[in-house]
C-alpha cells in the first residue's frame, strides 16, 4: 500500500529482528561496563572524603580497586583471545572508517548511518584510549608508591581527570540507552544481540541495506 512506510513495503516478508552485535562484542561491552562500575565505585570511596570516612577500610578498598583493574585487563584479553577475533578485527575496521555520510552526520546533517553512527565510532575510540590511559596511570600510581622513579606529579591528576570525563560520557551514554525514546531500543542490541528491523532502518539504514538481499529478489 502506498501509505505504508517505505521499509514495510520493502521488508514486509523479512523477520522482525536483525542481529546487530555478536556474542563477543556483547561480552566485551559488559565486561568493560561491569569492571568500570566496580572501579568507579571503589575509586570514589578512595577519592571523596565523605565516602572515605563513611566506608573506612582504605587498604581493603585500595586492594579491591587495584585487583578489579587487573581482572578487567585480564578479562578483556581473554575475551579477545577466546572470542571471535576475525569479527573483532572487522568491527575495528568499521569503527575506524568515517565515510562521507559520517562526516556530514558529525556536522549535524542527517545522513543514513552504518551499523555504528559517527558518534558511536568516536565514543568507541574515546573509550579505548581512556581504557589505555586509566590502565597506564593506575599502574603508575600503584608502582610509583613502590619505586620513586615511576612517580610523576601529574599521574593522579590524569587518573582523576579521566574519571570526571568518563562519568560525564557515561551519563550521556545511559541517557541514550535507557531514557531517550528514539535511541533506547539500542539497549536490546547489547543485551540480546538483535534490534527491530524498523528501528535499524531508522537509525542504521546503510547497515541494514548492506546486509540485506535486494528487497525484490525472490527467496
Amino acid at each position: 500500500m502506498a501509505t505504508e512506510p517505505l521499509f514495510v513495503r520493502q521488508y514486509a516478508s523479512e523477520p522482525l529482528y536483525v542481529r546487530r552485535f555478536s556474542r563477543t562484542e556483547r561480552t566485551l561491552h559488559w565486561v568493560h561496563a561491569s569492571a568500570f562500575l566496580v572501579l568507579l565505585g571503589s575509586g570514589l570511596v578512595l577519592y571523596v572524603p565523605r565516602l572515605s570516612e563513611l566506608v573506612g577500610r582504605r587498604p581493603l578498598v585500595k586492594d579491591i580497586h587495584f585487583d578489579t583493574g587487573l581482572a578487567w585487563m585480564l578479562a578483556i584479553a581473554l575475551v579477545i583471545l577466546l572470542g571471535d577475533r576475525r569479527g573483532i578485527r572487522r568491527t575495528l575496521r568499521e569503527l575506524d572508517a568515517f565515510d562521507r555520510d559520517d562526516r556530514l552526520w558529525l556536522r549535524r546533517i542527517p545522513r543514513p548511518q552504518g551499523r555504528f553512527n559517527a558518534g558511536q565510532k568516536l565514543n568507541a575510540a574515546l573509550t579505548a584510549s581512556f581504557a589505555l590511559l586509566f590502565a597506564v596511570s593506575g599502574l603508575l600510581l600503584w608502582y610509583g608508591e613502590r619505586n620513586n622513579s615511576f612517580r610523576f606529579a601529574s599521574t593522579i591528576l590524569l587518573h582523576d581527570g579521566l574519571m570526571y570525563v568518563s562519568v560525564f560520557v557515561l551519563v550521556g551514554h545511559l541517557y541514550l540507552a535507557l531514557i531517550y525514546p528514539s535511541t533506547k531500543h539500542a539497549l536490546r542490541g547489547m543485551t540480546r544481540g538483535t534490534v527491530r528491523r524498523d528501528w535499524a532502518w531508522e537509525h542504521h539504514r546503510k547497515w541494514l541495506e548492506s546486509r540485506q538481499q535486494p528487497p525484490n529478489s525472490d527467496t
Binding site: 568516536l122 622513579s149 601529574s154
Partner: protein, 228 residues
C-alpha cells in the same frame, strides 16, 4: 572507484591515538598547567555552593576505621627522653600558646591544597613543660590510627611553620583530618603530617615511619624528595 571525497577517512584510529597521546604526555605537563588553570577557575568555584566543589583533600588512612575523638577521655602523652613525662587533656592542649598560619599542603602522590588556615601549638611551646633532655633530638609521633607512626628531627619540628594543629579553617579539626590534633609541617609531604596524634616520644635517633618502611624518603621535603 569512488571519488576521493568519498574515500573513508580513518578518524577512528586518529581519535584513539590523539587522545592517548595527549593523555600520556600530560604526565609531564599536567600539574603545572592545571595549577595555572585552577587559579583562573577560582571565581567559578567561589560562585558554586561549597558542597559541590571538591575540597581538594583526599583522606588517606591505613587502618580499618578512623579513630574517634572523645574530648573527655582524650589524652596526649609526652614521654621518652624528657625530664618531665606527662599527659595533657584536650582542654590543657587548647590552653597552650596558640599559633596560627596559612600554608599549602602537598601530598607526595601529586595533589595539593592551597591556603589552609591552621591553628595549633608550636612544638617548642608544646614540649616546654616536658623539658627534653640534651640527647633528645627527634620527635616520634604515635597516631591513634594503628600502626601509623613517623618522626621529625627537633630541628625540623622547630621550623617557623610547623605545629601540632587542632583547628583547620576556623573549626576544630575534623575527624578525617586527624581530630583532635595532627602534625602540620608544610615543607614536607603529607605523610610526615601525622594525624590523630596521641603520643609524642622524644628519641635520640630518627626511626623510619609507616611509609618510610615502604620505601618513601625519611626527609620528605616538598619538591626535593621521593623522586621529584
Amino acid at each position: 572507484m569512488s571519488a576521493p571525497a568519498d574515500e573513508p577517512k580513518l578518524y577512528g584510529r586518529r581519535a584513539f591515538l590523539g587522545v592517548s597521546a595527549v593523555g600520556l604526555s600530560s604526565l609531564f605537563w599536567g600539574k603545572p598547567v592545571w595549577d595555572g588553570v585552577s587559579g583562573a577557575l577560582q571565581p567559578i568555584r567561589n560562585a558554586l555552593p561549597a558542597s559541590l566543589v571538591p575540597s581538594g583533600w583526599r583522606i588517606y588512612t591505613v587502618a580499618a576505621t578512623m579513630p574517634k575523638f572523645e574530648p573527655a577521655s582524650w589524652r596526649l602523652r609526652i614521654e621518652g627522653l624528657v625530664d618531665n613525662p606527662h599527659t595533657l587533656t584536650y582542654a590543657e592542649l587548647r590552653k597552650l600558646p596558640r599559633a596560627e598560619q596559612v600554608s599549602n599542603f602537598h601530598c607526595v602522590t601529586g595533589w595539593s591544597v592551597k591556603n589552609v588556615h591552621w591553628a595549633g601549638v608550636r612544638f617548642r611551646d608544646l614540649l616546654a613543660a616536658a623539658r627534653p633532655r640534651l640527647d633528645g633530638t627527634v620527635l616520634g609521633f604515635v597516631s591513634a590510627e594503628k600502626p601509623y607512626f613517623d618522626t621529625l628531627t627537633l630541628k625540623q619540628a622547630e621550623l617557623h611553620d610547623a605545629m601540632l594543629a587542632y583547628e583547620m579553617n576556623g573549626k576544630p579539626l575534623a575527624r578525617e583530618h586527624g581530630a583532635p590534633a595532627r602534625v602540620v609541617i608544610p615543607e614536607m609531604y603529607g605523610y610526615k603530617n601525622v594525624k590523630w596524634v596521641e603520643r609524642i616520644v622524644v628519641l635520640d635517633q630518627v626511626q623510619p615511619g609507616y611509609w618510610e618502611e615502604r620505601g618513601y624518603d625519611v626527609d620528605a621535603w616538598v619538591g626535593r624528595s621521593n623522586g621529584y
